[in-house]
Amino acid sequence: MIVSELGAPALAARLRSGGLRVRTGPVVVNIESPLADVHAGLALHYAQHTVEPADGFADFHVRVDRPRSLRRWIKPQVIFRHDGAEPFTPLAGNQGFAVLEWGLNWCVSTHCHQYLIVHAAVLERGGRALILPAPSGSGKSTLCAALAFGGGWRLLSDELALIDPATGRVVALPRPVSLKNDSIDLMRRFAPDAVFGAVVHETSKGEVAHARAPAEGLLRADQPALPAWVVLPRYLAGAPTQLAPLSRARGFMALVDNAFNYHVHGRSGFATFAGLIDRCACHEFSYSSLPEAVTLFDRLARSA
């Protein structure tokens, strides 16, 4: 069963009591929330995700709720809970679904140590994975969205590259693509068929909106991909589209610098990244035009 087959009343009932147990890639999350914007966000963005049995195993038990304080009556806030703990301070009350997404990123990046996890977007084409490691604000998600919605690439993740040390492959974690500020309208124009949720204003990151993961990414979520490219993206207003070679050693360090749990894996982490880099071409990429970027990555995929 997928989420959209539940119907809105049953979805809301599960979220209010007991939880919706949903699978995304290798992760099963039990989600509870009484908040309508969280219900709407899940109905929209997770419509095609698999619903797991209520008595099955869940990796994470999370809840997005109002904090237990008087502010819930004056200026409502939302709080993210994981196993009953509150790892973050409350945020403004209109950010429920965004808080859920950020909280799930935190859950995976701080707990799924069976994978070497890099802060990176990952896409696949022809069985080969493109890893885009970069800090927030670099244009990583915008480029990822353009390639996923208009470039013929399969989305594995817009935020977390889960690298299996045993195989060197990247495991898919297809979830909504998070876009910020100018990228929201830019992507709406570039990919008018993409499904967007409501824009949330005045977050710590500015305006935030999520786009539903393309269907192909969900249908093939069980198919990992072997990395072939490591590309460091950078959006620069007015910059020409430019793909420049990057030395493998610097590509390696980019993975280390953007890794969440490299320190946890020790020598195995070093060997995993080294093996990955052995197989990959490394580049730096600067851009301001999405159509040009998509064309360039199309050529890159065809030339290899």
């Binding site: 030395s247 390696f252 360090m253």
Partner: protein
């Protein structure tokens, strides 16, 4: 962007007299004359220049005085790789003046990758 470690430091007569050796377990890889190394003791990973990486690699053959390290790094140039040939061209003075190599060794020591001993 990751910092390349290769800094010249001031003269230190005491370490010139000592022998240098690798410190603990080090993982490394070399691509096109650039090195990445991981020090198991500190769990830190570094990007090294060609000279720093070749210096470290020379110590795999065992502890050595700085002159011997220089000979290992620059001496066997019968069939140098392109990266090594460029290194030799760039650091031609190092063979006669060990200060450059000592500077590299001191920085590698600071990173916990090598150590000097007066033996």
């Amino acid at each position: 962007m990751a910092q390349v470690h290769h800094v010249l430091t001031q003269r230190d007569v005491s370490v010139e007299l000592g022998r240098w050796s690798l410190q603990g377990s080090i993982d490394w890889r070399e691509w096109d004359g650039e090195f990445v190394v991981r020090c198991d003791a500190s769990a830190a990973t570094y990007l090294l220049s060609t000279l720093a990486g070749e210096t470290l690699k020379a110590l795999r053959d065992g502890p050595a005085h700085v002159e011997d390290i220089g000979a290992r790094v620059f001496g066997d140039s019968a069939k140098p790789s392109p990266a090594t040939a460029a290194l030799i061209a760039s650091f031609a003075d190092v063979q006669s003046d060990t200060q450059g190599l000592l500077g590299v060794l001191k920085e590698l020591e600071g990173l916990g990758l090598v150590r000097a001993s007066l033996t």
